[in-house]
Symmetry: C2
Protein backbone atom coordinates (compact mmCIF):
# COMPACT_ATOMS: atom_id res chain seq x y z
CA UNK A 1 0.00 0.00 0.00
CA UNK A 2 2.72 2.51 0.90
CA UNK A 3 4.75 2.20 -2.25
CA UNK A 4 6.21 5.09 -4.19
CA UNK A 5 3.80 8.00 -4.48
CA UNK A 6 4.11 10.02 -7.71
CA UNK A 7 4.67 13.75 -7.39
CA UNK A 8 1.63 14.33 -9.53
CA UNK A 9 -0.48 12.51 -7.01
CA UNK A 10 0.85 14.68 -4.20
CA UNK A 11 0.07 17.79 -6.21
CA UNK A 12 -3.47 16.60 -6.83
CA UNK A 13 -4.00 15.78 -3.17
CA UNK A 14 -3.64 19.45 -2.45
CA UNK A 15 -6.27 20.30 -5.04
CA UNK A 16 -8.60 17.80 -3.46
CA UNK A 17 -7.83 19.28 -0.07
CA UNK A 18 -8.88 22.74 -1.15
CA UNK A 19 -12.18 21.55 -2.49
CA UNK A 20 -12.84 19.42 0.57
CA UNK A 21 -12.13 22.42 2.75
CA UNK A 22 -14.65 24.40 0.76
CA UNK A 23 -17.20 21.58 0.90
CA UNK A 24 -16.87 21.37 4.66
CA UNK A 25 -17.60 25.05 5.00
CA UNK A 26 -20.71 24.48 2.94
CA UNK A 27 -21.70 21.74 5.33
CA UNK A 28 -21.38 18.94 2.77
CA UNK A 29 -20.75 15.71 4.62
CA UNK A 30 -20.22 13.21 1.83
CA UNK A 31 -18.79 13.25 -1.66
CA UNK A 32 -18.22 10.77 -4.47
CA UNK A 33 -15.03 10.45 -6.47
CA UNK A 34 -17.03 11.54 -9.49
CA UNK A 35 -18.12 14.85 -7.95
CA UNK A 36 -14.66 15.61 -6.66
CA UNK A 37 -13.18 14.74 -10.05
CA UNK A 38 -15.60 17.06 -11.81
CA UNK A 39 -14.53 19.96 -9.64
CA UNK A 40 -10.90 19.41 -10.50
CA UNK A 41 -11.71 18.49 -14.11
CA UNK A 42 -10.10 15.11 -14.10
CA UNK A 43 -11.43 11.54 -14.28
CA UNK A 44 -13.03 9.93 -11.26
CA UNK A 45 -10.75 6.93 -11.60
CA UNK A 46 -7.81 9.25 -11.17
CA UNK A 47 -9.18 10.48 -7.87
CA UNK A 48 -9.71 6.94 -6.63
CA UNK A 49 -6.27 5.82 -7.78
CA UNK A 50 -4.64 8.77 -6.03
CA UNK A 51 -6.50 8.13 -2.80
CA UNK A 52 -5.85 4.41 -2.94
CA UNK A 53 -2.20 5.04 -2.08
CA UNK A 54 -3.35 5.86 1.42
CA UNK A 55 -5.60 2.95 2.22
CA UNK A 56 -9.31 2.36 2.19
CA UNK A 57 -11.08 5.62 2.72
CA UNK A 58 -14.48 5.46 1.18
CA UNK A 59 -17.15 2.85 1.42
CA UNK A 60 -17.93 0.98 -1.74
CA UNK A 61 -21.37 2.14 -2.71
CA UNK A 62 -21.16 5.14 -0.42
CA UNK A 63 -18.79 7.98 -1.26
CA UNK A 64 -16.14 9.50 0.93
CA UNK A 65 -16.69 11.23 4.22
CA UNK A 66 -15.58 14.79 3.52
CA UNK A 67 -14.21 15.44 6.98
CA UNK A 68 -12.33 12.16 7.23
CA UNK A 69 -10.88 12.60 3.77
CA UNK A 70 -9.79 16.13 4.42
CA UNK A 71 -8.17 15.10 7.67
CA UNK A 72 -6.38 12.24 5.99
CA UNK A 73 -4.95 14.53 3.32
CA UNK A 74 -4.05 17.14 5.93
CA UNK A 75 -2.18 14.46 7.83
CA UNK A 76 -0.42 13.07 4.78
CA UNK A 77 0.59 16.53 3.62
CA UNK A 78 1.36 17.83 7.09
CA UNK A 79 -1.10 20.65 6.76
CA UNK A 80 -1.75 22.15 10.18
CA UNK A 81 1.82 21.64 11.22
CA UNK A 82 3.80 24.83 10.86
CA UNK A 83 6.73 24.39 8.49
CA UNK A 84 9.38 27.06 8.71
CA UNK A 85 11.06 28.11 5.49
CA UNK A 86 13.54 30.79 4.55
CA UNK A 87 13.97 32.96 1.49
CA UNK A 88 17.34 33.86 0.03
CA UNK A 89 17.36 36.91 -2.22
CA UNK A 90 15.12 39.84 -1.34
CA UNK A 91 14.63 41.20 -4.82
CA UNK A 92 11.18 41.78 -6.21
CA UNK A 93 10.19 38.13 -6.33
CA UNK A 94 11.72 37.21 -2.97
CA UNK A 95 9.99 40.13 -1.30
CA UNK A 96 6.67 39.17 -2.84
CA UNK A 97 7.01 35.60 -1.63
CA UNK A 98 7.98 36.80 1.85
CA UNK A 99 4.46 38.08 2.30
CA UNK A 100 2.63 35.62 0.04
CA UNK A 101 -0.62 34.60 1.70
CA UNK A 102 -0.87 31.31 -0.15
CA UNK A 103 2.04 29.90 1.83
CA UNK A 104 0.52 30.77 5.17
CA UNK A 105 -2.72 29.10 4.21
CA UNK A 106 -0.87 25.78 3.96
CA UNK A 107 1.05 26.18 7.18
CA UNK A 108 4.28 27.55 5.78
CA UNK A 109 5.90 30.28 7.75
CA UNK A 110 8.68 32.42 6.39
CA UNK A 111 10.97 32.30 9.40
CA UNK A 112 13.94 34.14 7.94
CA UNK A 113 14.86 36.17 4.88
CA UNK A 114 18.38 36.77 3.61
CA UNK A 115 20.21 39.03 1.22
CA UNK A 116 23.79 40.15 0.89
CA UNK A 117 23.21 43.76 -0.23
CA UNK A 118 24.22 46.34 2.35
CA UNK A 119 21.15 48.44 1.68
CA UNK A 120 18.88 45.53 2.62
CA UNK A 121 20.63 43.70 5.45
CA UNK A 122 19.31 44.83 8.79
CA UNK A 123 16.31 46.55 7.29
CA UNK A 124 12.69 45.66 7.71
CA UNK A 125 11.20 44.08 4.57
CA UNK A 126 7.64 42.78 4.38
CA UNK A 127 7.49 42.13 8.07
CA UNK A 128 10.87 40.44 8.24
CA UNK A 129 14.24 41.79 9.24
CA UNK A 130 16.57 40.96 6.40
CA UNK A 131 19.55 38.95 7.55
CA UNK A 132 22.99 38.78 6.02
CA UNK A 133 23.51 35.72 3.82
CA UNK A 134 26.70 35.09 5.78
CA UNK A 135 24.53 34.07 8.71
CA UNK A 136 22.80 31.35 6.73
CA UNK A 137 24.40 28.38 8.48
CA UNK A 138 23.87 29.83 11.92
CA UNK A 139 20.20 30.72 11.39
CA UNK A 140 19.32 27.52 9.55
CA UNK A 141 20.71 25.51 12.45
CA UNK A 142 19.04 27.67 15.11
CA UNK A 143 15.62 27.56 13.52
CA UNK A 144 15.98 24.05 12.13
CA UNK A 145 15.05 25.18 8.64
CA UNK A 146 14.74 22.37 6.11
CA UNK A 147 13.32 24.18 3.09
CA UNK A 148 14.71 27.26 1.36
CA UNK A 149 13.26 29.41 -1.41
CA UNK A 150 15.96 30.63 -3.75
CA UNK A 151 15.28 33.96 -5.44
CA UNK A 152 18.74 35.39 -5.94
CA UNK A 153 19.89 36.62 -9.36
CA UNK A 154 20.90 33.82 -11.72
CA UNK A 155 24.58 34.69 -11.48
CA UNK A 156 24.57 34.03 -7.75
CA UNK A 157 22.39 30.92 -7.85
CA UNK A 158 24.94 28.11 -7.92
CA UNK A 159 27.16 29.73 -5.31
CA UNK A 160 24.24 30.41 -3.00
CA UNK A 161 22.88 26.91 -3.41
CA UNK A 162 26.20 25.48 -2.27
CA UNK A 163 25.96 27.67 0.81
CA UNK A 164 22.48 26.29 1.40
CA UNK A 165 23.71 22.74 1.13
CA UNK A 166 26.53 23.46 3.54
CA UNK A 167 23.99 24.96 5.91
CA UNK A 168 22.27 21.54 5.85
CA UNK A 169 19.09 22.66 4.16
CA UNK A 170 17.22 19.61 2.81
CA UNK A 171 15.26 21.11 -0.06
CA UNK A 172 15.34 24.14 -2.35
CA UNK A 173 12.53 25.71 -4.30
CA UNK A 174 14.60 27.24 -7.06
CA UNK A 175 13.16 30.25 -8.86
CA UNK A 176 16.33 30.99 -10.80
CA UNK A 177 16.66 29.74 -14.36
CA UNK A 178 19.89 28.00 -13.40
CA UNK A 179 20.37 24.25 -13.15
CA UNK A 180 21.74 23.76 -9.65
CA UNK A 181 24.45 21.15 -9.28
CA UNK A 182 24.31 19.71 -5.78
CA UNK A 183 24.53 16.31 -4.16
CA UNK A 184 21.69 13.83 -4.31
CA UNK A 185 20.90 14.46 -0.66
CA UNK A 186 19.28 17.76 -1.34
CA UNK A 187 15.92 17.87 -3.10
CA UNK A 188 15.43 20.58 -5.72
CA UNK A 189 12.27 21.78 -7.39
CA UNK A 190 12.58 24.32 -10.17
CA UNK A 191 10.06 27.01 -11.01
CA UNK A 192 11.12 28.82 -14.13
CA UNK A 193 8.61 31.61 -14.58
CA UNK A 194 9.88 32.74 -17.96
CA UNK A 195 9.78 29.17 -19.19
CA UNK A 196 6.19 28.80 -18.06
CA UNK A 197 5.22 31.94 -19.91
CA UNK A 198 7.09 30.81 -23.01
CA UNK A 199 5.56 27.35 -22.94
CA UNK A 200 2.12 28.88 -22.61
CA UNK A 201 2.57 31.34 -25.43
CA UNK A 202 4.07 28.67 -27.69
CA UNK A 203 0.68 27.04 -27.95
CA UNK A 204 -1.00 30.35 -28.77
CA UNK A 205 -0.28 31.20 -32.35
Amino acid sequence: MKKHIPEKTVARLLLYYRYLYFLLQQGTKNISSKSLADMVEIKDSQVRKDLSYFGKLGGQGAGYDVLALRDMIAKVLDIGQITNVCIIGMGGLGSALASYKGFEALGFKVAAVFDNAANKVGHRLRGHTCLDSKELSKVVAEKDLKVAILTVPGEAAQKTSIALEQARVKAILNFTPVKLSLSKNIKIRNIDLAMELKTLSFFVK
Copy 2:
Protein backbone atom coordinates in the same frame (compact mmCIF):
# COMPACT_ATOMS: atom_id res chain seq x y z
CA MET B 1 7.63 15.70 -38.90
CA LYS B 2 5.43 18.50 -37.56
CA LYS B 3 3.17 16.38 -35.42
CA HIS B 4 2.03 17.24 -31.95
CA ILE B 5 4.85 18.64 -29.83
CA PRO B 6 4.64 17.81 -26.11
CA GLU B 7 4.71 20.69 -23.66
CA LYS B 8 7.64 19.08 -21.93
CA THR B 9 9.62 19.24 -25.14
CA VAL B 10 8.87 22.94 -25.50
CA ALA B 11 10.00 23.54 -21.95
CA ARG B 12 13.25 21.69 -22.56
CA LEU B 13 13.90 23.62 -25.77
CA LEU B 14 14.20 26.70 -23.66
CA LEU B 15 16.74 25.04 -21.41
CA TYR B 16 18.75 24.05 -24.46
CA TYR B 17 18.47 27.58 -25.74
CA ARG B 18 19.97 29.03 -22.59
CA TYR B 19 22.96 26.71 -22.74
CA LEU B 20 23.48 27.30 -26.43
CA TYR B 21 23.42 31.02 -25.80
CA PHE B 22 26.10 30.56 -23.17
CA LEU B 23 28.16 28.29 -25.43
CA LEU B 24 28.06 30.85 -28.22
CA GLN B 25 29.42 33.51 -25.90
CA GLN B 26 32.22 31.13 -25.06
CA GLY B 27 32.91 30.76 -28.75
CA THR B 28 31.97 27.08 -28.90
CA LYS B 29 30.96 26.23 -32.45
CA ASN B 30 29.82 22.64 -32.20
CA ILE B 31 28.15 20.46 -29.60
CA SER B 32 26.98 16.87 -29.30
CA SER B 33 23.64 15.77 -27.91
CA LYS B 34 25.58 14.07 -25.14
CA SER B 35 27.30 17.27 -23.98
CA LEU B 36 24.11 19.26 -24.13
CA ALA B 37 22.27 16.53 -22.25
CA ASP B 38 24.91 16.48 -19.53
CA MET B 39 24.48 20.19 -18.96
CA VAL B 40 20.75 19.81 -18.49
CA GLU B 41 21.16 16.51 -16.64
CA ILE B 42 19.01 14.44 -18.94
CA LYS B 43 19.71 11.63 -21.39
CA ASP B 44 21.24 12.37 -24.77
CA SER B 45 18.49 10.43 -26.49
CA GLN B 46 16.00 12.83 -24.97
CA VAL B 47 17.79 15.77 -26.52
CA ARG B 48 17.81 14.12 -29.92
CA LYS B 49 14.18 13.11 -29.67
CA ASP B 50 13.18 16.64 -28.73
CA LEU B 51 15.14 18.17 -31.58
CA SER B 52 13.87 15.60 -34.07
CA TYR B 53 10.46 17.27 -34.00
CA PHE B 54 11.99 20.09 -35.97
CA GLY B 55 13.78 18.27 -38.73
CA LYS B 56 17.32 17.20 -39.36
CA LEU B 57 19.65 19.54 -37.55
CA GLY B 58 22.86 17.77 -36.81
CA GLY B 59 25.03 15.66 -38.97
CA GLN B 60 25.28 12.02 -38.07
CA GLY B 61 28.79 11.59 -36.81
CA ALA B 62 29.21 15.31 -36.36
CA GLY B 63 27.32 17.08 -33.59
CA TYR B 64 25.11 20.13 -33.89
CA ASP B 65 26.19 23.56 -35.02
CA VAL B 66 25.63 25.70 -31.96
CA LEU B 67 24.64 28.83 -33.86
CA ALA B 68 22.26 27.05 -36.20
CA LEU B 69 20.65 25.15 -33.36
CA ARG B 70 20.22 28.26 -31.26
CA ASP B 71 18.68 30.09 -34.17
CA MET B 72 16.33 27.23 -34.89
CA ILE B 73 15.12 27.18 -31.30
CA ALA B 74 14.84 30.97 -31.22
CA LYS B 75 12.69 30.77 -34.33
CA VAL B 76 10.51 27.95 -33.06
CA LEU B 77 10.00 29.68 -29.72
CA ASP B 78 9.70 33.16 -31.19
CA ILE B 79 12.56 34.46 -29.12
CA GLY B 80 13.65 37.81 -30.47
CA GLN B 81 10.11 38.78 -31.33
CA ILE B 82 8.63 41.04 -28.69
CA THR B 83 5.51 39.54 -27.14
CA ASN B 84 3.34 41.93 -25.23
CA VAL B 85 1.63 40.64 -22.11
CA CYS B 86 -0.44 42.20 -19.37
CA ILE B 87 -0.73 41.58 -15.66
CA ILE B 88 -4.01 41.69 -13.76
CA GLY B 89 -3.71 42.19 -10.02
CA MET B 90 -0.98 44.47 -8.71
CA GLY B 91 -0.51 42.84 -5.33
CA GLY B 92 2.89 41.70 -4.18
CA LEU B 93 3.27 38.97 -6.76
CA GLY B 94 1.85 40.96 -9.67
CA SER B 95 4.13 43.87 -8.87
CA ALA B 96 7.15 41.61 -8.70
CA LEU B 97 6.32 40.06 -12.07
CA ALA B 98 5.79 43.51 -13.59
CA SER B 99 9.49 44.15 -13.24
CA TYR B 100 10.75 40.59 -13.53
CA LYS B 101 13.92 40.55 -15.62
CA GLY B 102 13.51 36.93 -16.68
CA PHE B 103 10.55 37.84 -18.86
CA GLU B 104 12.42 40.57 -20.70
CA ALA B 105 15.29 38.21 -21.43
CA LEU B 106 12.91 36.07 -23.48
CA GLY B 107 11.30 38.92 -25.34
CA PHE B 108 8.25 39.39 -23.16
CA LYS B 109 7.21 42.93 -22.51
CA VAL B 110 4.72 43.87 -19.84
CA ALA B 111 2.64 46.28 -21.87
CA ALA B 112 -0.09 46.98 -19.33
CA VAL B 113 -0.87 46.34 -15.68
CA PHE B 114 -4.32 46.41 -14.14
CA ASP B 115 -5.94 46.56 -10.74
CA ASN B 116 -9.31 47.66 -9.46
CA ALA B 117 -8.22 49.23 -6.17
CA ALA B 118 -8.65 53.01 -6.06
CA ASN B 119 -5.32 53.48 -4.32
CA LYS B 120 -3.49 51.79 -7.18
CA VAL B 121 -5.31 52.81 -10.34
CA GLY B 122 -3.61 55.76 -11.98
CA HIS B 123 -0.48 55.39 -9.90
CA ARG B 124 2.98 54.51 -11.07
CA LEU B 125 3.98 50.95 -10.10
CA ARG B 126 7.26 49.35 -11.14
CA GLY B 127 7.56 51.52 -14.19
CA HIS B 128 3.96 51.02 -15.27
CA THR B 129 0.92 53.19 -14.79
CA CYS B 130 -1.69 50.96 -13.22
CA LEU B 131 -4.88 50.89 -15.27
CA ASP B 132 -8.40 50.22 -14.08
CA SER B 133 -9.54 46.64 -14.70
CA LYS B 134 -12.65 48.13 -16.29
CA GLU B 135 -10.48 49.17 -19.22
CA LEU B 136 -9.35 45.62 -19.88
CA SER B 137 -11.27 45.08 -23.10
CA LYS B 138 -10.27 48.43 -24.52
CA VAL B 139 -6.57 48.09 -23.77
CA VAL B 140 -6.34 44.44 -24.81
CA ALA B 141 -7.83 45.36 -28.18
CA GLU B 142 -5.65 48.45 -28.61
CA LYS B 143 -2.41 46.69 -27.79
CA ASP B 144 -3.42 43.36 -29.31
CA LEU B 145 -2.57 41.50 -26.12
CA LYS B 146 -2.87 37.73 -26.36
CA VAL B 147 -1.39 36.61 -23.07
CA ALA B 148 -2.38 37.70 -19.57
CA ILE B 149 -0.81 36.97 -16.21
CA LEU B 150 -3.42 36.57 -13.51
CA THR B 151 -2.33 37.55 -10.00
CA VAL B 152 -5.56 38.73 -8.41
CA PRO B 153 -6.73 37.30 -5.06
CA GLY B 154 -8.33 33.87 -5.35
CA GLU B 155 -11.80 35.22 -4.64
CA ALA B 156 -11.64 37.42 -7.73
CA ALA B 157 -9.99 34.89 -10.01
CA GLN B 158 -12.95 33.31 -11.78
CA LYS B 159 -14.71 36.61 -12.31
CA THR B 160 -11.58 38.27 -13.64
CA SER B 161 -10.81 35.35 -15.93
CA ILE B 162 -14.23 35.73 -17.52
CA ALA B 163 -13.45 39.39 -18.14
CA LEU B 164 -10.20 38.30 -19.77
CA GLU B 165 -11.98 35.88 -22.01
CA GLN B 166 -14.49 38.54 -23.00
CA ALA B 167 -11.60 40.84 -23.77
CA ARG B 168 -10.45 38.17 -26.26
CA VAL B 169 -7.25 37.24 -24.50
CA LYS B 170 -5.98 33.89 -25.84
CA ALA B 171 -4.00 32.57 -22.91
CA ILE B 172 -3.75 33.02 -19.16
CA LEU B 173 -0.87 32.27 -16.86
CA ASN B 174 -2.84 31.68 -13.69
CA PHE B 175 -1.07 32.23 -10.39
CA THR B 176 -4.21 31.86 -8.29
CA PRO B 177 -4.97 28.52 -6.68
CA VAL B 178 -8.36 28.53 -8.37
CA LYS B 179 -9.41 26.21 -11.17
CA LEU B 180 -10.61 28.58 -13.88
CA SER B 181 -13.67 27.50 -15.82
CA LEU B 182 -13.52 28.97 -19.30
CA SER B 183 -14.17 27.83 -22.83
CA LYS B 184 -11.76 25.57 -24.68
CA ASN B 185 -10.65 28.49 -26.85
CA ILE B 186 -8.58 30.00 -24.12
CA LYS B 187 -5.37 28.30 -23.04
CA ILE B 188 -4.64 28.22 -19.32
CA ARG B 189 -1.45 27.34 -17.51
CA ASN B 190 -1.53 27.15 -13.75
CA ILE B 191 1.32 27.99 -11.40
CA ASP B 192 0.36 27.17 -7.86
CA LEU B 193 3.24 28.37 -5.72
CA ALA B 194 1.96 26.94 -2.49
CA MET B 195 1.41 23.60 -4.16
CA GLU B 196 4.96 23.59 -5.45
CA LEU B 197 6.28 24.27 -2.00
CA LYS B 198 4.06 21.59 -0.50
CA THR B 199 5.02 19.02 -3.11
CA LEU B 200 8.67 19.76 -2.50
CA SER B 201 8.44 19.50 1.27
CA PHE B 202 6.37 16.30 1.05
CA PHE B 203 9.42 14.47 -0.18
CA VAL B 204 11.57 15.87 2.62
CA LYS B 205 10.86 13.99 5.78
